[in-house]
Symmetry: C2
Subunit: 513 residues, 2 copies
């Protein structure tokens, strides 16, 4: 039996993917080299592509292909059960997405695309001029359009939950609270307990741009970057994006006075890229089929956080890398110095630069605020006050201006609501996966109390990557995030591993300071 | 009377232009930051866009709009004669292009797009490995597809002439010979006469990458670059491209041992960009309407050559800029030193690095060879020999390998045949326009024997740009290249002005050496 319809559907998905990746290429260019005044035209280009994509993703032709492929699959006799199940899962996910797209009015899709480009460009101006009122009307517009989108999607979920689905399939606010409440309870006291212990502080020195780029180059080379398939760029907000089956891009940026910012951002974005590089793109036509795609943003984030925090910020990594930092002029004479500098554990205003301990608080604040904006009537004009109030209460710091405060992150400027929790879920997943990885490495014969550290010490991060590829990356969207974690670790996702890890790290830093 | 159809046609053209500029953005990215292994997917993206563009440019909807707009225009009573003539010209050019597109089979369009991407990528590999046989089959394929294209277009012209039309509307081989034969006669003897006069030679020194970029930055700043609408990049072959109404890009590259290469390429590409920046894009919806577009590649080239040769390579410019070069370590103590170094007048192998005297010979060789490849049965496998033979005969130099020889230029790798003559025509046009500009500046009160030099001496290149904007740029495709030259200079295009200029320059360089 030949899978005729299946192949036609695959070709259809491939063409959609081509268009989607063109959209991504324009996004990359917009964020790396496009001159600022070009933004309105770029917005029109992106809107046109969004319209064409929406048409393809909601067309009768597509719907018929999915239906016919299901019928064909029922009659299929030459496939094994594993392949049949995979095909079923692909078709289920396609149907789900098709139904979403069909419910959306194409005018709304175009309006949203335009509002996203406008929002991004106004946010940039507002942030650089530290002038929230330049951005507020665009944010209001984006919120209204997203609320309208949620109404049109008409799912049995709240507005915020509906918008979070593309990032975290099946996530509910209830489940989020279960996972986050222990953090809300424990993090503030952990942060507080830490205060009496002083240790090496950042400040008073910096690394020049060239040195930072050199260190990043070394990092990526040691982590196996293949220049034939990866390009680096600079952008105001670091990101990683995949533009083709062999086209992985990442950006970073040097922040004055923050000598580790570029380095850690590179480690982070490289983690994202490794996940994408490890997805089963060949068997699923390069993301054309759902199973070739990342299963959730939290899993994505768990991968970037793994490389940033579990590896680059580890004691063993510092022992290996301190001399390169010293060569570039960093005030470090051993691994311990570098490790402390890379792990300041001091609550600050900035999410991206936050330490692992206070990072969660940044997310908890944003999550509450975006739910309030979308579902509880928080006015955009009250956002700066609300933001500052919560930072004062929960982290004990107050932004001196909105650029440091509610204008800090790019997400809302692009209308991405429901994304932030993925970062913190990513911490939880990363911690739980790391525990499982440690057991597996022990089992494989690395007889160490800290087998991850052992691999890092030996410059054998490839072993960590191998485990991630085989246990996480290769599954794509075969299962959702929580199920993946359960299958890989044998336990339901919780905050235990993350809190354990934090307590141990705080303890180590305190003891050695 | 409302121009309903006119507005609808304008909207249609605008959407086509959006798609076209997306294609250009992908091209830019491909040439500046894309990793090499990404080429096949990029090829598929470009093919998809080429297909979509072709569909739009040959659709019934488009055809009907053009026809209906013509009818509407005949009944139009509220427009003045100038506007009616402009609209007529727009419609004539649209019809011409529509008829061309309609004759093309869409399969051919897709095949060509793929062959162009493959050709470019194989050319890159062949050039870097100095291995012509890697590229030859792709070149053969491109020639066959272009010949097929010419057959499908079925114009009353030869194959080469048909392919040259998009670059030089109305050009014939007969007219080309009329214009180029005096150069074929005179240039070799001019080059020969020069030989006994020795003068300062390049070689033995270089400027580092940072210095070269610094000098380029200064050049563009002094020439009025607006960073909000322009971006710079690096690519193996310098180019200029416009991606949106306020999105002008240019690239350059540093060539080891050629300390002026990057600087002069920047001047050259900036000249291209200035032409595009000066086109009547507002009144003609940013290139959507033909009158908003460049009238020919020769006129385009005349603008880039003007800024490269008439300005950056002039004696007066050297007097102004030598100290900046000296600061970066160039072995110059005055303007004369720099001027001589920038004008070596020594025949070499490389077109882009060629002096103004031998430049023409590079073009004459390429033009003859591409006519031979397309119309006279020259086999692609014989190309290297033919190339080397002609270089020996006409310029007295022999490439030591094909990378220096027939693999030198990018054009054929993208299937662009019929383009090369535009470069030399550009020299002729630039020379003739410069004479007219000099008269106009005299007339405006700059009482100097060399009013262009006077402006350059005073750092008032903006006066030169103003004249070009008002006399050349603003006309877009209102008239074709030859007619434009006739209207602006009062004389039919010929090689006189260019040869006069060359003889004078050779004389000056000889006297001062």
């Amino acid at each position: 039996m030949t899978s005729t319809i299946w192949l036609r559907l695959g070709q259809y998905l491939r063409d959609t993917q081509l268009l989607g990746s063109i959209h991504s290429t324009l996004y990359w260019d917009q964020n790396t080299v496009m001159p600022t005044a070009a933004a309105p035209w770029r917005g029109e280009q992106l809107s046109l592509l969004a319209k064409l994509l929406h048409l393809r993703q909601s067309s009768h032709e597509f719907e018929d292909l999915i239906l016919e492929a299901s019928t064909e699959l029922q009659k299929e006799t030459s496939l094994d059960i594993k392949e049949i199940n995979e095909r079923k899962r692909n078709l289920d996910l396609l149907s789900l997405e098709l139904n979403r797209q069909k419910r959306l009015d194409s005018q709304l899709v175009v309006h949203l695309a335009t509002a996203q480009t406008d929002g991004y460009s106004l946010w940039q101006a507002a942030k650089s001029d530290n002038d929230y009122k330049k951005f507020a009307p665009a944010l209001k517009k984006l919120i209204e359009l997203r609320q309208e989108q949620s109404r049109q999607l008409d799912e049995p979920r709240s507005c915020w939950e509906t918008l979070a689905q593309p990032f975290e399939p099946d996530l509910t606010i209830k489940r989020l609270n279960e996972l986050f409440n222990p953090l809300k309870d424990r993090l503030p006291s952990l942060i507080n307990d830490l205060k009496p212990c002083s240790h090496l502080k950042l400040g008073g020195w910096d690394l020049d741009v060239k040195s930072q780029h050199k260190l990043c180059e070394r990092l990526l080379n040691e982590w196996g970057r293949d220049e034939n398939i990866t390009s680096l760029g600079r952008s105001p907000h670091p990101f990683s994006i995949t533009l083709g089956p062999k086209d992985f891009r990442l950006t970073s940026r040097v922040v004055k006075g923050q000598p580790f910012s570029c380095f850690l951002a590179t480690a982070h974005e490289w983690g994202h890229s490794l996940y994408e590089q490890g997805l089963p793109s060949q068997s699923h036509q390069w993301f054309g089929w759902p199973l070739g795609q990342a299963t959730s943003m939290a899993v994505h984030e768990s991968q970037s956080l793994f490389w940033e925090n579990r590896v680059a910020r580890s004691r063993d990594f510092s022992n290996r890398f301190w001399k390169y930092f010293a060569n570039e002029g960093a005030p470090v004479s051993n691994g311990l110095d570098l490790w402390k500098l890379m792990n300041p554990l001091a609550p600050g205003l900035n999410r991206v630069e936050a330490d692992e301990l206070s990072y969660g608080m940044h997310i908890l604040i944003r999550t509450d605020l975006e739910i309030a904006l979308l579902e509880q009537g928080l006015d955009v004009w009250d956002l700066p006050n609300e933001w500052n109030k919560r930072y004062k209460e929960l982290l004990g710091v107050t932004p001196s201006n909105d650029a440091e405060g509610c204008l800090q992150d790019v997400h809302w400027s692009e209308g991405a609501f429901g994304y932030f929790p993925s970062y913190l879920l990513g911490h939880l997943i990363s911690a739980q996966l790391s525990e499982a990885m440690a057991s597996a490495l022990n089992f494989e014969g690395i007889k160490s109390e800290d087998p991850l550290g052992q691999c890092i010490r030996d410059g054998k991060e490839s072993k960590l990557l191998k485990w991630l590829r085989e246990e996480v990356h290769v599954f794509g969207r075969k299962v959702n995030a929580e199920k993946l974690v359960k299958e890989v670790t044998g336990k339901a996702l919780s905050s235990h591993a993350f809190l354990n890890y934090l307590e141990k790290k705080v303890n180590m830093l305190t003891c050695t300071s």
